[in-house]
Each structure stands twice: as C-alpha cells, then as structure tokens.
Symmetry: C2
Subunit: 688 residues, 2 copies
Amino acid sequence: MLNDKYSVLFEPLKIGPVTARNRFFQVPHCTGMGHLRPKADAATRAIKAEGGWAVVCNQETEIHPSSDLTPFTEGRLWDSRDIPALRLMTDAVHTHGALAAVELVHNGNHASNLSSRAPVFAPSDMSVDSIVPKQAKAMDKADIRALRRWHRDAARRAKSAGFDIIYVYAGHHMTLPQHFLLPNMNDRMDEYGGSLANRVRLIRELLEETKDEVGDTCAVAFRFAVDEMSGVDGMQASEEGRAVVEMLAELPDLWDVNVSDWSNDSATSRFMPNEGYQTPYIEFVKQVTTKPVVAVGRLTSPDKMVSMIKSGVVDFIGAARPSIADPFLPHKIQTGRIEEIRECIGCNICVASDNMGMPIRCTQNPTMGEEWRRGWHPEQIEPKGKETEALVVGAGPAGLECAMQLAKRGYEVTLAEARTQLGGRAILEGGLLGLSSWKWVSDHRIYDLQQRGNVKTFSQSPMTAQDINDLAIPNVFIATGAKWRRDGVGRSSRGPIQKDPQMTILTPDDLMAGHLPPRGPVLIYDDDQIYLAGVLADHLSSAGYEVIFATPATNVSPWTENTLEQVRIQTTLIKRGVQLILGKTLTQINAEHAQLSCIYSKFEQHVEMASILLVTERKRKTELFDALGEDLNHNHFKKLKLIGDAEAPGLIADAIFSGHMAARHFEKSQRNIEREYFRREIVALEGN
Amino acid sequence: MLNDKYSVLFEPLKIGPVTARNRFFQVPHCTGMGHLRPKADAATRAIKAEGGWAVVCNQETEIHPSSDLTPFTEGRLWDSRDIPALRLMTDAVHTHGALAAVELVHNGNHASNLSSRAPVFAPSDMSVDSIVPKQAKAMDKADIRALRRWHRDAARRAKSAGFDIIYVYAGHHMTLPQHFLLPNMNDRMDEYGGSLANRVRLIRELLEETKDEVGDTCAVAFRFAVDEMSGVDGMQASEEGRAVVEMLAELPDLWDVNVSDWSNDSATSRFMPNEGYQTPYIEFVKQVTTKPVVAVGRLTSPDKMVSMIKSGVVDFIGAARPSIADPFLPHKIQTGRIEEIRECIGCNICVASDNMGMPIRCTQNPTMGEEWRRGWHPEQIEPKGKETEALVVGAGPAGLECAMQLAKRGYEVTLAEARTQLGGRAILEGGLLGLSSWKWVSDHRIYDLQQRGNVKTFSQSPMTAQDINDLAIPNVFIATGAKWRRDGVGRSSRGPIQKDPQMTILTPDDLMAGHLPPRGPVLIYDDDQIYLAGVLADHLSSAGYEVIFATPATNVSPWTENTLEQVRIQTTLIKRGVQLILGKTLTQINAEHAQLSCIYSKFEQHVEMASILLVTERKRKTELFDALGEDLNHNHFKKLKLIGDAEAPGLIADAIFSGHMAARHFEKSQRNIEREYFRREIVALEGN
C-alpha cells in the first residue's frame, strides 16, 4: 500500500501535449541492443513500463548515416525502414500505460561512420573523438541545412513510430548540438559561432523545428548538459550553462538536465558515492523555467525523491541505472514494498556492456536484457516442479541468488556458508576502499531470504562431501567460489613464476581476509587487468603503504575504460604517489626484489620490495564438487550443479547470473535447455 | 589470352569428392559482414567466384553459442536458423562455377561469449585471451563430447547450406583444436593432454567425424598453423608442426597450412615485405602428404605462383588479401592482363576493418564490401551520361582514382598535378621506411591512365582559380589533399600550442619533401596516434637521429593494434633506442625544450631537443575550392566537387573511396544519391 508521504511521487503531470501518469521518468539510456536487437530492446523497455515508470525513453537514436556509431548498437532512424523496429517498443510501452520517448541524435565527430563511410561532421575541422583515422569536416551552410532537415524528418518518423516525446539532445559531449555550443569545439566565424546566442542557434532551430513538425501531439524534450565539470576550462552551470537555460527557458516542453561527459553523468559509486550527486549543478534550472524538469543522480531512496520534488529541485525523478537494477522501483514504492527494491550499486556494468558492444547487463538484476530472449521477468519465476528440496553450498553472490530464486519457486532451501558472514566476495570486496556499495548485492538477497519461511540458512558451516551425503538432500548447487592464485599464473604466464621462499607473497584473498602486508614497499603485480588490483593499490596506499604497481597493461586497470573509471583510477594512484611500472610482465620473484620484463623489448628491470601482491588469475574451488562426483554414490543426487565463480570466475554480475540461471533451469531437461538456448534476432533475407 | 607458361595455374584439381576448376584458392578470411550482413557477404564472395577463383571460402563460422565472438561479426552456424543466410553465399558462388567452403570454428577462450553468456571453454583453466573479466573452464569429458557433437551438427548444417568443402580449423591461436595442441595452453593429465598423440586427439576426432558426417559429398579441409613463430617457446614447423602433419597426413582431403598467430599469418608489408614469406615454414608439408596443399604469403605474381607449384611447394595458390585487392586476379592472368592486377600493398586495412567491427575495406579496391549495398563491381562502372568532359585537380590517391574511373566511364579527362610526380601522399609516404609498397597505389592507377586515349595528364601544373576558369571544363573535381598542421592543434589541444620562434618546428610534410631536421635530438609529438608518427620515428632513427617520441597515448601508434602491427612497431622503436614518453600531452614549445603534461595527473615534465616534429592533425587544402566557389561565376560549373583528404582527411583507403564514389555519383542527382544511399540489412521482426 502506498505510504502517504510518497503520494507526491504518483501525481500525474503534463509534458506539453501529453501527460505522465506519475513522476518516475526513465531517462534515455543505452542497452547495447538498439537496431540489432529490437525485440529484446522493446521487451526491456516494456518491463520498465510494467514496473510503473511513467515515461520510458529509448537510447540515442541516429537520425542519418552520417551519424553511424558502428560497432556500437544504438537506436537507428535513418529512414522509414527503421520505423517498424521502433514501433515494437512504443506498442509494448503503451500496453503498460507509459509514455514512450525517443532520443534523436546526430553524433557529429563522436560517430566515426565506420559502416556508412559518410563524411564526419563537426562545427569546425577536427579529428574524430576516438582513435580512428578520420577527421571531421567543418559543416558548411548546406550541411547545417541538411542536418536540420534530417532532424525534422527523423522527428516525423519517430512520431509515426508512435513516440509521445521526442528529444533534442545536447549532452555527454556526444552530439552536434552540444558541439556547436562549446567554444572548445566551435571556432566558426559565422552566425553559428562566436557569441553564445550564435552557438545556441542550432539548438534553438532544432527545438523550434521539432515542435513545428510534431509538437501538435508529441512533447519535445531537451536533454542538456549544464556543466562539463572541468571548471573554468569548460561550460559551467553557473555561467553559460545557466545562460542557455535562460535563453531557451520556455521553448522545450521538458528540460532533462545533467552533467557532461558521460563519465561525469554516469559516475560510479567508487568515485561519486552519494545519491543525488548532480543536484548542485542542476538545481537552478527550475528557477529559470516553468516547464517540467527531470534530473538524475542514481536515486533509489523514496524519501530523497520526495524531498527533491518538495524542495523544487525537479518535477520528475529521472533514472537510468536505478531503473535497470530494479525496473519495478516505482511499483514497489507504490505498493509499500520499499525494502524489496534492488538498489543500483553504481558499478557501471550496464555502461560497460554498451562500451563492449554487447547487450546490457546488471550486477543486481540478472534478468536485465534477458526479458525477451530468455523470457525472464525480474519479479516472476516459474513455480517449482516435482522436486521439493535443494541445498546450496556457499552464500556468495551466486549461492545467494540461486537460493533466493529457488525459494521463490517454492522449494525448501538449505543454504550453507563456511564463513561467519553471508555474502562471499560481495562483502569481502565491499570492504575495500570505494566498493562499500558492493555489499548491497548481499544485503538485498539476505533480506529477501530472511522474509521467507522455506529457507534455512547456516553460517560458519563448512561442508564436506560426507556432510552433504549425510544431509540426503537430493538437489545440490555448489557455489564455493574461487581463490586468487599464488603462483603467478595468469594472462601473461601460463606456468608458475619462479619465486624465492623468503619473499612474502600475498593475494587479494589475504588482504580481504584482513592480513596486511609486512612493513616496507609492496609491489602489486596486476596481470588480471580488470579492476581489483587498482582498488587494492588505492586501498593499501591510503592505508599508508608505499605501493609500486606493475602490470603488462599500458595503463592501470585497462578494462575500467568500459566503466568510465580508468582515468579517475590512474589519476588517483599517481596523486597518492603510487609508482607505476607499465607494460611489464613479472618473470621472477627473488628474496628482495622482483624481475620484470618489457612486453615489447623483453629488456629486464629489477624492483626492490618487502612483499608482493599477486593479482593474476583465480582458481576455481571445485574440491567439494569433485569429491561429490567421485566419492559418493551418484544415484543419491538427482542434481549436482556447479555455479558462479566455482564454475567459471567472472564478475559479480556473472556469478549472480549463473546462480539465477541455475535456479531457472532446475527441473528442466538438458535437452530442453539446449533447445531453448535463447531466442535470437536474425537479419531478414527478404527485401532491402 | 592465357600465356602458356601460366597454364599450370589453370589445371583442374580434385579435393576429395569435389573438383576445383583451377589452382586459385581464396582461403578463409573475415569480412566484418558475416551473420549481420549476409547479403553483402554473399555478394563479396560471389565477386571472387566471378573473378576466377576456383574455391571461395567464407570466414570463421561459429558452431555454437559457446563460441560467440560478439561484437565481432563472423560467420554463424549455431543452429539451423543460420542456414538460409549461408545458403545465399553458396548459391552465389556456385552461380559463377566455384566451390564454396566454410570454416567451422570453436574459438575456445578466444571467444568471450559476451552476447550468449555461455561458459568459456579451454583445455585447461585460464583467462580469456582478451581484456574481459572472464575465465575459461577446463573442458571435462562431457564438454569435449558436446563439442564434438556441435562440430558434427554444424558440418551437417553446412552441407545442407550447400558448402562443398568443410574446414576443421586449428590456427591463428584462435581455436580450440589448436589450443588443445599447444602445450602452453594444455596441461591436462588425461588422454587429451601430455603426449603429442594425446594433444592431437581432438583434431583427429573432429576430422574423422566430419568426414563421417559429410565426407560422402563434401571435402574436409584442415587449416593448420605449422609454426607459432616464437622459436623454441612455441610450436615449430621443424618439430611438432611437422609431426602433426605426419600423424594426420592422409586424413584430411586438403591441407591449408600457415603460421600463427594472426599477426604472423597476415604480416604487413612494413614488416614482411616479400611475397611468399611463409614458404620456409610450410614447404615440408607436400613431402609428407599426398593430399593437395594450399598456402598463402601475399602472392600476386604469376611467375612466383608457377614456380611454387612446379617446385612442389603447394598445389593451390592460396590468397586472402590479394583476392581482396583484386577479386579478378585469376581472370586477369587467364586473359593475359597481368599488368592490370591491383596488387595488395600489405597495409592490413582489411584486417583493421574486422578488428574495428565494421565491413571490410581495401586501400587498393574501393569496391570491396560495397558489391551488394552500393552495387559496385570492381571491374565495371556505368558508362557516362550526357556530360563529356571533366577536370581533376590533384593526382594523389583520390584524384588518380577519380580520374581513372571517370576515364573508364568514357569522359574526356584532364588531370592536373602541381608536383613533378603523380601520386601525392601514396608516393610521399611510400618514400618512408617500410612503406614502399604504398607506391603501388599510384603505380596501378598511373599505368591504367597511360593506357587510355581519353586522358590528358599534366604534372608540374599548379592550378589557380583563374586557370580553371580559363580551361572552361564544366565539371571539376578538386583533390588538393591536406597538409599537416604546424600549430599543434589536434586531438588533445583544440587551440594552438604556445611556441618559441627559436625552436625548429617540422611537420611530416617537411620530412616527406626531403627536409631533414637539424642536428641534435628530435622530439616527435604524436597526437595523431594512427601510424605515421611511428613510421617517422623509425625512419629518422634509422637515419641516425636521436629520437624522442612523446604521445598522449599509452602506447606507440595505438591504432595499429587494428593492423596487427602495434607490438612490432613499439618493439622496433625501443630496440633502436628511441626514448618513449607515453601518456603525455604537449603544452608548450620553448627555445630549447618542450613542456609535456601527464594526461592523468597534469604533472609537467621538460624535454630538451633541437627540433620538434608535430604529427597532430591535418588541415584540408580547400583554398582553390573556396576560391572557385566564391570568385568565379558559379553558373560556369555544372559540377564542382571536393574529394579525398581535401574533403575529409583520412586513410589512403578513404581517399581512394572518395574519388571512386565521386566518379560513380557524377551525373546522378543529389536526390537520387540520398535516396539510394545504400541497401541495408535489417533484423527480421517476424519469427525468432
């Protein structure tokens, strides 16, 4: 039941000619599905509508082949051939009573037009903004006229695809309208350059023309980054950011305001831990315009939401990541089930998916992106079949998720954990500097399990094969996790690295178990190259250690470019005084030093240290699984399944997915699982 | 007419149950089209068949969702839903009388299964082979049985898709059968690990089972990398490489042999300048087996081909890149038009396309990848319309290509070049260390123009707007190119960099024009980050200069990871003693030193030098075009078009494409050009 204090969140609100049923607004966000996976995209958006969002936006949607983001899969509306795919989404969103919005985009020099081979456009001559051998040409007047025509045509097509809200988009450093606005990118001498009024001209024209074209029935939203977060070197909310809002105040039907670039807008919890972190930048907007305002900031707390509305910061609660972690967030608030909200942990696995060119993933919500192809619903799961009981060994992310979903299905679930605390790596990594929100992964699941009558949870209960045999539960899921290797084996060395027993060798597991290195310099060797070694360097360094960081990569934690954190991580380490040794593999560990070899020249180098922390690769803990498979009477078990890191080490998101899938697949035949692997979207062979 | 000495190349030859019409064999190569662009892929392969190749292979074709190369677009045969798309190719290839081959693949830990989320497989536990947070699991016996079943099923599906030759693939470090073979990746203790006989077991099983399944009507080919080219640290042709061929000698119907990894097999001309560079590794194979052998090595000379066959090195002339540069290579030899062959320059733009997730491109052949979507044929072009005459200003790549295609269309073409030599940047860059084959871009086109009666070429003929006006040719194509900026503007600095006039500042244009730096250390500042700065560093260093190389990138020439050259480039520079300063932007040029700033911390550093070579960005040379547009009577011109680097600086491949497209579009209305932008492949909305 809706708590009265949250009723303001469920007031309907007009946006130009359309009306939102409440104040929950899923702002545009990528899904990595777009034009290549339109059915999957439509289903993902539909789940949000079903979960109670009043407005569901799609993602940046290219208006012309000169804005071709290949190989990244976003929306596409190059011409009328793209309408039917988008119609799938609007129909699905409307079915659940929400408004559907489209974010039209011309990406200028953020697009490299790799597939279309069209010329790349920018306000002035310049390189494209990725390491691609192309330069953009300064748009001449004919190009600008063409762009306006393309935008108008796309707006018309969007309307005919059934969208209720059409965006003009100037944000994330990714779009031409913003590029024209920024003096750093626009040195034109004509009426589109120079004064702010000139630099804003293109935006004004696009807004006016979009309203003219579709404004009778569609609302026209303006997504605008008010601050570049680079101080006086960029646009500031207090200076030109505000001036732009003043100049265009009543022109759009809705202001969707944020900060730029993407790494600032979608900042991770590691670097921007607080909910509502964008408020200081955007709170002026409502003072300048009478039109409704939406903004974001990883908002998941209904009290915070109410306060933002009551204090006049926003009219709509914008969300991208929180709507991914929990599509049913509005519904849960409305029905008084606030404790059941799966809170976004701010890890940016969703962002990384898009950057890696794959369909969206979420650590907290394993059904994200799987709604259509596997038919998974975030709040529903098939009831159990003939079996009645299951044992889950290990209460890390995979075990917790598996136990929770099995319990939801109606099995009697026994969950056994060797450690004192449930949570596994979610709480262990969550104890490291910057990762405390990781713990929400286990908090959510432990809370859920506690509410259920059909779950028995045992901590401090390490299990042997004999114990399990004695329990006589016929269905066993083994989620024993993985441990970091101590022998140096990893990406760069398939064999153990030679070592002197006098040197103290540590692994991340030692540190997370509370064992600190001895005094003196510690060398962190990162052959993993994902995120953990960078976190540990930060952690140890802030704890006062002299840290040397060596890696075969040419920058620190290269994978975190996908989560938009890499620059922040490396900057932090340098500023802490961590010594970086890049592009080197570890070849030998001696009594007082390590030997490193240049990945290019193989030239060797020595580094003195008191201890070495190896972050290379993980070893699956399959001893229990193997023993059950070998020693016990196999007929005893109907199901014996390895899940999570014990099956294949990956991210926490992968472990959650693995546990979830095992629970969904339980009592299905292997044959059916293979047959129903998943639905796919395949290119049409008929027509053009 | 076929020269007798080449007749051996046109002998038919049996491959198991099928017969190749001649000895020209397009080995499997990626197109970046695959399952997402099946119509385009089919058309590209069909052109090869039309051009005379006897066997046309597709690309690595995934046999199961646990071999999912997303976001790279290769072939796919996960289940029967994928058959119709591949049928397009086999039908198209058969129409032109060639055999169609499919390269079945399971990529093991080379695939990250980003889309499918399937577990990743390897012989032993290990990380995936890219910087992705996943580890592969050691395959258990059930996994191996499943793999064999998947391969057998895929072979059956391939047969039903119409393929004549089915590959088992163990090469490029990219496939499970090779992973099982390599001791570095296989430390199993069972019958699939240990001795060579054990490590080869999986390959033998796959070969036997494929023959059993489809061998009645299909040939079974084995693609095998005989040498890892890492000396005693890897498999060597003279050791286990040979032993494998001996063990399996008569099992496959065809041996397709090469070297591993991909960077060795597809070595660029910059590092492997000679045709037939793989011969020393593979020439033993024919001594060990009676089955036909195909091998590659960027072969384009018919004399070399004949000698390789007559001396018993190979039975088939294998080609990937040469067949991309000239799909009609066999046809041209057969009809005695050897001089018309567009020789592969070994630049790996084709490889880079695949690595960048986009459809295939070729520097020499601008129609590559455009056969279906734009309807372009490499040897045919629409005859001219009503216009009779055209002027092309500038004989660089874009101007030469445009002039050549206009001449083919039947126009009277005048080509004016300011310099003494035709060729523009193709010959200027071609004068740098390692890039001499770049000159073939202009050689081919100059030769072609010389053969034609309707072309007048003028060198040493710089043109002014007045000159052009006086010529009174109504159709003018301006290909005046671009020059490297001298002010420091580039990716990292949108404004000019402050400089002291006492410091000598050079650009690549100065060097290519023969102006050497003064004595003393030269600082090369690479804000371009593509390939040229790395080439110049190598060039100057080999000429005896002390070179310091600074760049905001964290490695040298990062874009060349796409051409598989990056490691070789950086290794070469280090070994030459070039000092590398990575991750730094240039902020100031003083009288005797430069000021650099860390891209992360902004900490500053000084570098002493005698001169600085700025490789940052190019400025389009549009003065002539602008003057024609402004000063002259516009009505005088029916067509005035900017092409190549003068329109938008890019690769030589982009310039050629631009010139080619302008020639194709000439006399089409802008409306039709936009309407016919290109055909597209769109996801089917019906069915699954």
